[in-house]
Subunit: 427 residues, 4 copies
């Protein structure tokens, strides 16, 4: 036995099972709301674990309407303790800064402590992540749950602090349990079964790295797929081809991040991922001294939708608008589609001043530079529907990412290569 | 390479090292206070990591007076943002419960976010635990730091949530790095070097289990030492003897928890440990079906001091007070010392209603029963100075610990064996 | 890095690569025969490793006719050193037993030392196993290679001594590299891809165990698939069904070995496998105390061929011969097919006195008892072609396997259940 | 549980325990000789394992005289089967080379098969290694056991083939079980407890590497201790000093092999170790690109004894003989002691043409060059007694070791540096 590997969870399961005996003696079916009350006020730790487990088990069986009721209950009954808060506020009015801190404690919603106690149950963390996924669905329709979501988000941000994450390479020696999750989570370029996966993780010129958290053992948080190549690629088809010559890693000079997937919907907004690429750059540099260039080959998912919506001549010149029409008619166009993409990525701003395109936001926010725009780069249905097949390279240069990031986040400036700047100036 | 094992920390170190270049360009020595400001407001993540690391490095070099200044700064300048809070309070007065939750966010001391960001640096967690140890020292003399300590304690309680802990057996196949910490941390019965350690972890009738946290890899949080025996022991000397016959584990019927040590001073008050014994009971039961009885052999560190202080006849009858005098004079006494111990453990209450003795508080709070009182059980200097050599057994019976715990925590009732009750009734 | 995991092979590769430089300076293409001479007589160890590697590399590129030439060369030129042997024999004629031992050393074929030296190259063991697979193909057509095969067999028997084997459970946490070998090696009931594999290794009521050798890291030698059930099964279709209710392991009372596959053709005749079942029985008993019965569900691959060949009335009574005809005509028959199988398995002896059926030989030789004969148990094409769908259970009872084994191997007695004996006596 | 880690040995133990029941039914104490007969002829594998185990257990209890009887029995009764051999010889006289190979099989001493069967028992390998250690002791006094030792040696050479060895780094994260063996096995510069060990394996400028065999899990076969330094050292005291400045590994340019220890007496003569240094050179080169020089700092254990024995002027000139006398008188001498050492190491030949000094034989045989001779380099009692404190550096240069090795092993030529050659020419 490797001590400890599964010991804790086994034991806690048994303790929880034992404790559950106490609960069910009443003979009545457990009421999840009452159990939450008991968990928050209960003193017995064995019982406490059992209740946490029972709540999580019960939650899994809830139907959608019951889930809504559960979250509503959490939101309305497990908020701030008003009496404690009023007392704290009264004494806080005229006090010094040190005493003010009591207010924070007094105003903590009870739902936070509830979530913390649920997390003690074996497997609690992953069930809480799943619970938040449900809550996010509800939140889309009813923004009043935002306050409850803030509790989950606050705790998850603390628990998934990057100091607790592990970067791991995933390859063909990795367990099937992890690998099947990779197949399932790939969100950009679908993995068509184990043969396709093998090509992506076992080829000598391919790498896959992910962030893992100790409490979600076989479940990655985010992962990136890398191709080692001899030049910056402009066609995803060549990267994904079943039959292709492998590049001896020692001769590769470019590392291409061709797919990045967030795995846990329930962790949306927890940005543990924004360091993944930088760390993988470091890892690859230390393994292959020959690598000089680190780029993505990324989709531009919002391009076509945006272009179709533009009415204003100042954004898209008439000849570009005309090109959009021809593209829609299925006709061939020249470099106009690249120009449109350049305008979209560099000049289209969201209300917060950042780029409109979600993939651009991620890489520009990380300090990457918009390097190349490729037409005919993605012939998949999704690629044609999103961007008439356009893909782009974002370039990661560790020596400039900090400066680029500051320019982008302070002033919305998109750093581009000369080639892209030329496209913007075309007449 | 096992991917990931040390990858993250290596990489983060390199990123941080790279980022630090940016910092030192100014040429001025880093000012830890200013760096804390920058870390909290800075947007660049690479720089952020570098600053976190620089603060932690700088902190290590501070002299005691500088540390006090650092913590004072944290307490006074990194408290609640008064403006944000006032605004939140103003809008909270007449609003519903949902909006009240904003108050919690508005009132979060900025020191909490600072600590979270420091934790992102490689090795940050263990350095923050060390930082709190220093803070606790300061707190002893100046209670105004209690509010700052609350921040550490709040975050540590979340990070060291028992869902994140691993129970591991420590034995002779464990790494020297862990084993030397065990030697260093043993707080009850000192381990006199590697030979003594070997006897405690490698003998077939001995076990040592600890709780570990993924961010403190080779550093246990708490551990317990176990002896497998054929009867409930009343003499620690026999347990610790260098030469003794080993008990074949399959014939053992008693498991004795003869030493429990908290390892991290900086985690004081974070009660991840109150489940250790119960889990070890479960583990031992599943490994050795023969084990029937789970007891401690525990010191009574406050006995002598308490007995010397008692003036009231209702607490200690005159013949027991007389026995105390004879004990102090080095004379032999009969069962009186056991009677005194029984009164101390069962009837001496702290202001909160619990037992006075710290070891008793721990085990009674866990739901154990006071089973036996042994005289002449600990002939060490510490044992004689603390309790004239008295030790006791607390018995762990999983089927009653919940009930015992409730009785103790609700009403302060100490559950005892018949033998102990007899001592209390002696005249 | 886990030191050592791949260190040795990496280093040896580099040393061998370095040494190879020396070899290729001549500019002529390497001649595998000459290299074998050099390897046997060479003193330089770095060169020696490089030559071993070069021979193995070169061997892989040989065409069939060249391989035949290579093995012929090994057989004819790397045999016993006649001069040394003659000298040893001359001095052995009239000497005592101790001196006779020299004869053994003098008569060792040089091919043995050659194989030992080839094994020093990184990855040498698995390449030697592959080499013997080729030799076995050649041996089928030309028995003069038997003497050379004896060298491989002798060394393999020593290297794959069961003291060096590891029993490992293969499950869904096993690496894809091992799992894909399982798919590839399954020889009895084909595994139709990863989904089928998952059902066999990840279901709670299924187990897969294999023997592994340290020098063939991810490559099993033999493995057995186990189903935990509530009764002895008589239909392989139910075991292999895609959709079926899982049996909670704690309620299972029967463990069924439903497939056993030898993986390495090049290790044919090295009987490291005859302990696998017994060890798995032990392993399952220690994990699931409820298990009472350990049986196989095995094919009877030689039944139909044997039955069609029988002419003698004393072997098969006329009514059974008639049943054979009806079976071949596709007509339904009653219990006659079971009777035929009973006669085949119990009464048909090979020249060595053992059973004729290869699967029966394996299990009876291991001390199992022929327990049940099932008709309509295997509706696959292979099952119908081999035995008209008949399968049987062999029962493993650790308390009698030794006695059964002795009876079978000494007298050819097949131990059977009452039910099978009844079939033999039917008229 | 990591499946398989200790599964096999556990199970085999249980099977063996079960089988042993069969053995002891007779009620008579087991006779080790008879058990050996039974093991060789027995067919039952469960019984076989049990007998193997019983023999090994029994062997451990034998007194010296009984051991001698046991080995005598093995030598005399388990030799070659004379009848089988005579038959094979008769048919071999006039046959072709292929048939001659039968003779090898016919002449195998039965003791070899006995040893192979003993090896199947759990832990068998290490017990057989211990058994040979005893045999070597006996062999020193009675050379008639040489033939029996040849059996052990032959099998061990096959089992400990370097293709089966693993190079592992031993550091402070290594298990105590391995580390305590390192303390125990260090044969050159004694390790004075765990603190001393820690300095040798945990300092950033120190390394320790060993060869391990899968069947001797926690037991190294040979290990080497390395110091990373900024110049070639001439004083072992500085290397071993308790207090010394650590060299940042990235600034080190020299790797010093300052201690090499064979661990298993029972493997004497099995030269798995002659590659250790070369592999460690490779490993260090790949980890630290700065390292340019790889040298030993080695004792010259035979120097003083040899010098005292020399009478011939052609070997030691009168002024050097005179220096020997002064050295023995405790007087200071100049460079003469270095000159004496140079003559000893370069010109003193053993009957086989190699160097006389055992340490020199090892390194020169590996292809190293005699680089420097240091006086006052080892002030320990052993160092003064062996060589008046002289130590030497042997230099490993991978590009010349093959050539050096050939020159040494073919012609006995000792390759030396210019500095050493100068010492030889001094007048």
């Amino acid at each position: 036995m490797t001590p400890g590997t599964n010991l804790l969870s086994d034991l806690v399961t048994r303790i929880a099972d034992a404790g559950r005996g106490l609960l069910s003696q009443s003979g009545t079916p457990p009421d999840i709301s009452k159990m939450c009350d008991t968990l928050l006020t209960g003193k017995g730790e064995a019982t406490g674990l059992a209740i946490a487990r029972a709540i999580l088990d019960q939650y899994k069986k809830l139907k959608p309407a019951e889930r809504l009721a559960f979250f509503t209950d959490l939101r309305d009954r497990f908020g701030v303790d008003r009496d404690a808060l009023d007392a704290a506020m009264a004494s806080a009015i005229d006090t010094g800064p040190a005493e003010l801190r009591q207010l924070h404690i007094a105003s903590e919603p009870r739902s936070q402590e509830l979530i913390r106690r649920l997390n003690r149950a074996p497997g609690g963390t992953s069930q809480l992540v799943a619970m938040r996924r449900d809550l996010l669905d509800i939140l889309k329709k009813d923004s009043s749950f935002k306050v409850l979501d803030a509790d989950f988000r606050h705790l998850f941000a603390s628990w998934f602090n990057r100091g607790f994450l592990e970067l791991k390479r995933v390859d063909w020696s990795t367990s099937a349990a992890v690998l099947e999750k990779i197949i399932q989570y790939e969100a950009v370029h679908e993995i068509a079964g184990w043969g396709d996966l093998r090509r992506r993780v076992a080829a000598t010129d391919r790498r896959l790295y992910g962030f893992f958290h100790p409490a979600l053992k076989d479940d990655p948080l985010i992962f990136v797929e890398v191709a080692l190549t001899v030049e910056i690629p402009g066609d995803i088809g060549k990267i994904l081809a079943e039959e292709r010559p492998e590049v001896p890693p020692k001769t590769a000079v470019v590392a291409v991040f061709y797919s990045i997937s967030n795995c846990q919907e329930g962790l949306r907004g927890i940005s543990f991922g924004n360091f993944l690429i930088k760390q993988v750059v470091e890892e690859l540099q230390s393994e292959f001294a020959n690598l000089k260039t680190f780029v993505t080959l990324s989709p531009v998912p919002g391009l076509r939708k945006w272009a179709l919506e533009q009415k204003n001549e100042e954004v898209l010149a008439p000849r570009l608008k005309s090109a959009v029409k021809r593209l829609e008619a299925g006709e061939a166009v020249g470099t106009e589609v690249s120009e449109i993409a350049a305008h979209y990525l560099v000049e289209a701003h969201a209300p917060d001043g950042g780029a409109v395109d979600p993939v651009a936001r991620f890489h520009l926010g990380n300090g990457a530079r918009l390097e190349n725009i490729h037409t005919g780069a993605d012939s998949s249905a999704r690629g044609r529907a999103g961007s008439w097949g356009v893909m782009v390279n974002y370039l990661y240069d560790l020596s400039t990412i900090e400066k680029n990031h500051e320019a982008y986040s302070n002033a919305g400036d998109v750093i581009t290569s000369t080639a892209v700047r030329r496209l913007l100036k075309a007449h």
